[in-house]
């Protein structure tokens, strides 16, 4: 039986990790609730419902042996690619990008799920018997594994998801012992190839990309979000304005305030002190993730734990970076915090995967 829960396993549940994630999820629900304060709380309730679904998924994933999942990775990878392709043909277009698939009453975002599958596929590709020791062929093959979904996601266009896949790939490759110099070589090669891709783009596609990189080219669009987010965060000052005082967020000056820019809402309400708490929770989460990766005893567990942690760290840092104006705006949700079913469920599943590795550390 796969679902037989060993008492030994239960003893090894990582409560610190769970507590950190639980704290963030709680703050997410509270933030969504306070956004709707005084007028309906539908969004917070829906998010709560998704947390419920996600917890179920977490328990299922954690009780599965992650090695089974790694073995199933090729099938999952192909299925995941299939979903990404399906988005092209069946997908729903929202503000110029196709990212959503309709499944009955809900819309799912396959690219979110694919992030997790990607980690499993990397672990599978780099730990199979023929993949060791690390050879050029293995590297090329792994790069191909990353390139296909990367191109699909770029075409959607969902630059955010594509940007997340690359650091995860880099972290896992460094983990298996790839020299930093070689990786830098790859990166340089990619940068060198960019002008070629540039030539293939049409003028308006170039413009769209340039706006991504320099939002102030489009003063009515992205640049507006950035400045409003900065005002929201800054006006929170040290202690925040509380729920009722958070005019930036509640009076809807801030776009995307439920989803990608939710951190700005939180920052306005709870100030620097609140942000410090939230960031410490994220720091704790990521730190425990790395600890689990470091402590894992066999290669698959190591890579899975490292990949999942890199995924959390990348998404968190890029989202915080863009909301605070350090990075250009790309559409990446804040894990456990942003409103959105796909993101929440997948983040909790990823957490389940980490727990699974940790629980089987001493088997």
């Amino acid at each position: 039986m796969i679902f037989r829960i060993d008492r030994r396993l239960l003893q090894n549940v990582d409560w610190t990790l769970l507590a950190a994630a639980g704290a963030i999820v709680t703050l997410s629900i509270l933030s969504l609730w306070s956004l709707a304060w005084g007028g309906g709380s539908g969004i917070a309730l829906r998010q709560l419902w998704w947390v419920g679904v996600g917890l179920g998924a977490l328990v299922v994933v954690a009780s599965l042996d992650y090695r089974t999942l790694v073995r199933a990775a090729p099938v999952l990878y192909v299925a995941g690619l299939g979903l990404l392709v399906a988005v092209f043909t069946l997908g729903r277009t929202v503000s110029g990008a196709r990212r959503w698939l309709h499944v009955g009453p809900v819309t799912v975002q396959p690219s979110e799920l694919f992030k997790l599958i990607f980690v499993l596929a990397l672990a599978w590709a780099l730990t199979s018997r023929w993949a060791r020791p690390l050879s050029r062929a293995t590297l090329g093959w792994t790069a191909g594994l990353a390139a296909v979904p990367f191109l699909l996601v770029v075409r959607q266009p969902d630059l955010g998801t594509a940007v997340v896949l690359l650091p995860v790939l880099a972290a896992v490759l460094l983990g298996v012992g790839l020299r930093l110099k070689v990786l830098a070589g790859f990166a340089l090669g990619a940068v060198a190839a960019m002008p070629l891709g540039w030539l293939l783009l049409r003028a308006y596609q170039r413009e769209r990309l340039l706006v991504y990189l320099d939002p102030f080219r489009d003063p009515l669009g992205t640049a507006y979000n950035v400045i409003q987010a900065k005002i929201a965060i800054g006006s929170g000052q040290l202690l925040g304005k509380g729920v009722s005082g958070a005019t930036q967020s509640r009076l809807a000056f801030l776009p995307e305030r439920h989803t990608d820019f939710i951190f700005a809402v939180f920052a306005e309400m709870w100030g620097f002190v609140g942000c410090l708490v939230l960031i410490l929770a994220y720091g704790l989460l990521v730190l425990r993730g790395f600890e689990i990766a470091a402590g894992a005893r066999e290669p698959r567990g190591r890579l899975v734990a490292l990949g999942v942690t890199a995924l959390f760290a990348t998404q968190t840092l890029i989202n915080l970076g863009m909301v605070t104006g350090l990075l250009p705006v790309v559409g990446i949700p804040l894990p456990f915090m942003s409103y959105g079913g796909s993101s929440m469920v997948v983040s909790l599943m990823a957490l389940g995967l980490l727990l699974s590795v940790r629980m089987r550390q001493f088997q």
Binding site: L220, I233, S235, G236, L238, L317, G325
Partner: protein, 599 residues
């Protein structure tokens, strides 16, 4: 791998630790930025949020200007007022729309429909009315405080030298259609070139809109401009056109339906291209209503059609040039061939008449071209053969698009026995006879004829018609440039070229084209009178009049092709128009140069 598991594990832990440190550094950066925003700059942002009244306004980029080859502007911009709605800033939508509807006399339903198409929190202005009168602007400004979310923008708008000047060539600029916005290249409300050069070069001409972020007080009045992104003006286009020649061609053709193409045979440059009747460019720029548009589309004279390349006509006797070239080069005709023209020609049961009652008498190839004798060419055509004629016609660029980038070019049609057989119909001797005087199924466009005449003038080079010399960005750098391009060559021996040019020279000096004679400039050309329908009567003005020519005959610098729809005889109707254009090109230029030196 079994060798030193301890060392391996240690290396792994070291690498994970390194990554942990990198991530930790990232978190520290974020915290640093938060400290900066919330603690160091917090007070400033708090103040901004308290009177958060930031408005974003677009600043439209002026569209690039089109110039002729000498640097004269063909179009220009002038500022015009546009009333726009900004959905996000409209607090009480219904009352604002109702008031605006009354002020501007626009149906309320129309305004509501425009707003319904965009998201309610959109910041992008919805352009409601363009090119407002000053009174309208004053009325809106007067009620400004009651109209939150309504802004008056200054947008550059096109002005033209005259309202129909080079209308088909330049094309008009108009708001994008629903269909075009769906393709994703344009935003709703963008002004884009819809036909002609404006459309072809739209990407270059459009430039990039800028914007400014302004702070307003509680009443919506601007307090200060916080940031301004300057619009980038569109690129400037230097065309191959000559504004003076274009004007002369339009004046010469005025009042008639037809087309004039003026080309430089040395480069393929289009110096002028007109199509008449033309439409009024001005009417498209503002608010052209549905009825006016339908009236233009349904107009029986088809003013929207660019006759120079979108209409096909039988070439009539102009085609005799091709028959003569084919016969001479293939050896089936010689300049010494003679025939007696008695006014008709019998082939089997059919009789083909000459246009000249009673016939031209004794004819050789040269005089048959000069007098445009049909009977000579009926026989000549049968000698040369339909396949050879068709082959040379295609070599002269007929039956295929010329390659000009303006949309909608028609290819024309060169019939041949092989083609007709493929359609399942037999080719008769009568088909060859008809073809040899440019009738039958044969169809050409005025632009194709101009290209053909250029080849005759320059000794066989077929040019891709060139309209654009270069596109220069606002900062002076080159965005695009186009050199003359040869797309084909007609291989005839120099003797044949010389014969043809001499014959064409005589057409004007002593033949059917004498109406194009101009003292001081030797014009060479060929007249044509093409039946528009079977058995039409040229006396009743049912024939298309052609005159295809170049000058000076000894050193050709311009090709002028004139077509007048249902004008009558080519020599009587089209040739004088060409003459007027040559006069403008050669003689008035001289006069102007003299006037210039005197003053």
């Amino acid at each position: 791998m079994r060798a030193a598991p301890g060392a391996r594990r240690e290396a792994w832990s070291r690498r994970v630790l390194a990554m942990t440190l990198v991530v930790a550094a990232g978190f520290v950066c974020v915290l640093g930025q938060l400290w900066y925003l919330q603690v160091l700059e917090g007070a400033r942002f708090r103040e901004m949020s308290e009177r958060n009244r930031i408005r974003v306004r677009p600043v439209a980029a002026p569209r690039g200007i089109l110039y002729d080859r000498h640097g004269l502007a063909l179009v220009d911009n002038r500022p015009a007022f546009t009333v726009s709605l900004i959905p996000r800033e409209m607090e009480d939508r219904d009352s604002v729309l109702a008031r605006l509807s009354i002020l501007l006399k626009v149906p309320l339903a129309e305004l509501q429909e425009m707003l319904a198409r965009v998201p309610a929190d959109s910041l992008r202005p919805v352009r409601v009315r363009r090119d407002l009168s000053l009174e309208d602007v004053a009325r809106v400004e007067e009620w400004k405080l009651e109209l939150p979310g309504v802004v008056v923008e200054v947008e550059p708008q096109r002005v033209y030298p005259t309202s129909t000047f080079a209308a088909h060539l330049l094309g008009y600029v108009r708001e994008v259609t629903e269909e075009q916005t769906r393709q994703g290249r344009y935003r709703r409300g963008d002004m884009i070139g819809q036909v002609g050069l404006e459309r072809l070069l739209d990407e270059h001409l459009r430039g990039r809109d800028g914007g400014e972020r302004i702070e307003v007080d509680a009443l919506g009045r601007p307090v200060q401009v916080m940031q301004r992104e300057e619009p980038r003006p569109g690129a400037q286009v230097v065309t191959t056109l000559d504004r003076r020649i274009q004007e002369a061609a339009e004046a010469a053709l005025a009042g008639r339906a037809g087309s004039v193409v003026v080309m430089d045979p040395r480069s393929g440059d289009i110096l002028a291209m007109t199509s008449s009747p033309a439409f009024s460019l001005d009417r498209f720029a503002g608010n052209l209503d549905r009825e006016a548009w339908l009236a233009l589309v349904k107009d029986p004279t088809h003013p929207l059609l660019n006759r120079a390349l979108q209409s096909q006509y039988a070439p009539g006797s102009v085609f005799k040039i091709v028959v003569a070239a084919a016969g001479l080069q293939e050896g089936s005709l010689t300049p010494m061939d003679r025939t007696y023209c008695n006014g008709e020609f019998r082939l089997g049961a059919w009789t083909f008449k000459d246009w000249h009652e009673g016939g031209h008498g004794h004819m050789d190839l040269r005089s048959a071209i000069v007098q445009s004798c049909n009977v000579f060419f009926y026989q000549a055509g049968l000698k040369v053969g339909a396949e050879a004629i068709a082959r040379y016609a295609r070599a002269f660029g007929l039956g295929a698009p010329s390659g000009i980038e303006l949309g909608g070019e028609k290819p024309g049609l060169v019939p041949s026995p092989a083609l007709k057989r493929r359609q399942g119909r037999p080719w008769h001797g009568g088909d060859t006879v008809n073809m040899s005087i440019g009738q039958g199924q044969l169809l050409v466009t005025p632009l194709q004829v101009a290209r053909m005449m250029a080849a005759v003038a320059n000794g066989g080079i077929l040019w891709k018609p060139r309209l654009i010399q270069r596109v220069e960005r606002a900062d002076g750098t080159l965005a695009y440039s186009e050199a003359s391009r040869m797309t084909g060559q007609v291989d005839l021996s120099p003797v044949v070229w010389a014969f043809l040019r001499d014959a064409l020279r005589r057409v004007v000096s002593e033949g059917t084209g004498h109406a194009a004679r101009l003292p001081g400039i030797e014009v060479a050309g060929k007249t044509g009178t093409a039946q528009s329908v079977a058995h039409s009567d040229s006396a009743r003005g049912q024939d298309h009049a052609w005159f295809a020519s170049f000058a000076p005959a000894a050193d050709p610098q311009v090709v002028v092709v004139v077509l007048v729809e249902r004008g009558g005889k080519g020599g009587q109707v089209a040739a004088p128009i060409a003459r007027a254009i040559y006069r403008a090109i050669f003689l008035e230029k001289v006069a102007m140069a003299f006037a210039g030196t005197e003053s």
